[in-house]
C-alpha cells in the first residue's frame, strides 16, 4: 500500500464516509472506494462493486473472484453508535466500555448537574430533552439505545422515538415491576406487543451484576450478543 492511499483512506474514515479498500491478493494492487467513487490503480467490475456494498452492509471483509483474480474487500463502515439516556453512575462505566468496543457514544441528559465534564471526560454530551435529542440523532440499524434514568419523564420519550427507529438494540434499566409499568404507559401511548418485544427489560445479561460497572458489563454483553446474533436473541 502506498502512503498517499492510506492517508486518503484515513481521511475518509475520520469523516465517517462509507469506504472500502480492495486488494489484489496476487500482486498487491489496490483500489479505494469512497462513497462509490473509485481511487487507485485497480480496475473494478460490477461483481466487485456488489461485494463492496455487501461488505459495508455487513461490516465484514470478504474475498471475491473477479477476472481470474482473487480480491480482498475490507470495509470501513461508519462506527456503530450507542445513545445513553441518563448521565447516571452506570453510564460513567458503560460509556468507556462502549467506546472501547468500537461505538461512538452520545450521552443524553437535560439535567446539567449530571452531565459535568468531570463525570464524562471526552464524551459527547447532549442536553436536549430525550425525544428531541433522539429524533435529531436518528438511530439506525447500527445504533443501540439504552435508557438509564429510571424516570418516566426522560426514559419514555426516548423509548418512543427509539421504537419508531431501526435501532438494533433498545434496552431500559429498571426492575421487572418498573418495566411492567413502563409497558403499560407505552401501551397507552399506542405501542403494542411487537414493539415491547424489541425492548430489553430488565436490561442486561443475567450475570448477577451489582455494582454500576458490573451492570455496565451485563448491558455491554447483551448489546454485543444482539449485534452478532439477532435471530438467536429472540428480540
Amino acid at each position: 500500500m502506498n502512503s498517499a492511499l492510506l492517508d486518503t483512506l484515513l481521511e475518509a474514515k475520520t469523516a465517517k464516509r462509507p469506504t472500502a479498500l480492495v486488494t489484489d491478493l496476487e500482486g498487491g494492487a489496490q483500489a479505494l472506494v469512497i462513497d462509490g467513487a473509485e481511487h487507485g490503480e485497480l480496475a473494478l467490475d460490477d461483481q466487485v462493486r456488489g461485494g463492496i456494498e455487501r461488505a459495508l452492509r455487513r461490516d465484514k471483509g470478504e474475498t471475491v473472484e473477479s477476472a481470474g483474480k482473487r480480491l480482498f474487500i475490507q470495509p470501513f463502515a461508519p462506527p456503530k453508535r450507542m445513545i445513553l439516556v441518563g448521565a447516571v453512575h452506570i453510564a460513567q462505566s458503560l460509556a468507556p466500555m462502549a467506546k472501547l468496543t468500537g461505538y461512538d457514544v452520545v450521552i443524553v441528559d437535560p439535567r446539567q448537574a449530571f452531565t459535568s465534564r468531570e463525570r464524562f471526560p471526552g464524551a459527547a454530551l447532549n442536553h436536549d430533552w430525550p425525544d428531541d435529542a433522539l429524533t435529531a440523532l436518528a438511530p439506525d440499524r447500527r445504533t443501540a439505545v439504552v435508557t438509564l434514568t429510571h424516570d418516566p419523564k426522560l426514559d419514555d420519550p426516548a423509548l418512543s422515538v427509539a421504537l419508531r427507529s431501526d435501532a438494533f438494540y433498545i434496552g431500559a434499566l429498571g426492575s421487572t415491576r418498573t418495566h411492567g409499568r413502563r409497558l403499560e404507559r407505552l401501551r397507552e401511548a399506542g405501542f403494542g406487543d411487537n414493539d415491547f418485544a424489541r425492548i430489553h427489560g430488565p436490561i442486561g445479561l443475567d450475570i448477577g451484576a451489582v455494582s454500576p460497572a458490573e451492570i455496565a458489563i451485563s448491558i455491554m454483553g447483551e448489546v454485543t450478543r444482539t449485534l452478532h446474533a439477532p435471530a438467536e436473541d429472540g428480540k
Binding site: N2, S3, G27, P96, K99
Partner: protein
C-alpha cells in the same frame, strides 16, 4: 477537556492510524491483514497487525500463535517490497511448526507501506 481519555482507550483499535503515524516518523512499516478464515480462528477477517523495521508491533492477527511468523514475513516484505499471502493451518505439535492450536486456518496478506 480534550477527547484524549477516550481516544487513548481505543488506540489499540486504530491500527492503520498507527501505521500512518509510524511511516510519518520515518519508520519502515508493513501491514498484515487476515483475509480469510476457516474453522475456529481466533481473530476475524479484517484483523490487522502493523510491524515496523525494529519488530515493534501493534494489533493482532491471531491469539498470538502466528504473530512471530507474520512479523518475520513482514520484515522480509519491508526488505524486498513484495507483498505476500501467507497460509497457516493446524499446529503439528510434533514438528514445532507455526500454526493455530485451535484447529482453524487463516490466510494473512502482508504488504509494505511505501
Amino acid at each position: 477537556m480534550s477527547e484524549k481519555p477516550y481516544e487513548a482507550i481505543a488506540e489499540h483499535e486504530n491500527i492503520l492510524e498507527m501505521a500512518a503515524q509510524w511511516r510519518a516518523e520515518g519508520r519502515q512499516v508493513a501491514i498484515a491483514t487476515v483475509v480469510s478464515t476457516w474453522g475456529s480462528s481466533p481473530r476475524p477477517v479484517g484483523s490487522q497487525l502493523v510491524v515496523d523495521g525494529e519488530q515493534s508491533m501493534i494489533g493482532s492477527v491471531s491469539g498470538g500463535c502466528i504473530e512471530g511468523a507474520v512479523v518475520h514475513e513482514a520484515m522480509a516484505a519491508i526488505e524486498d517490497g513484495e507483498p505476500r499471502l501467507l497460509h497457516f493451518g493446524v499446529t503439528d505439535e510434533q514438528a514445532w511448526e507455526v500454526g493455530l492450536a485451535c484447529g482453524g486456518e487463516v490466510e494473512v496478506f502482508v504488504e509494505k507501506l511505501d
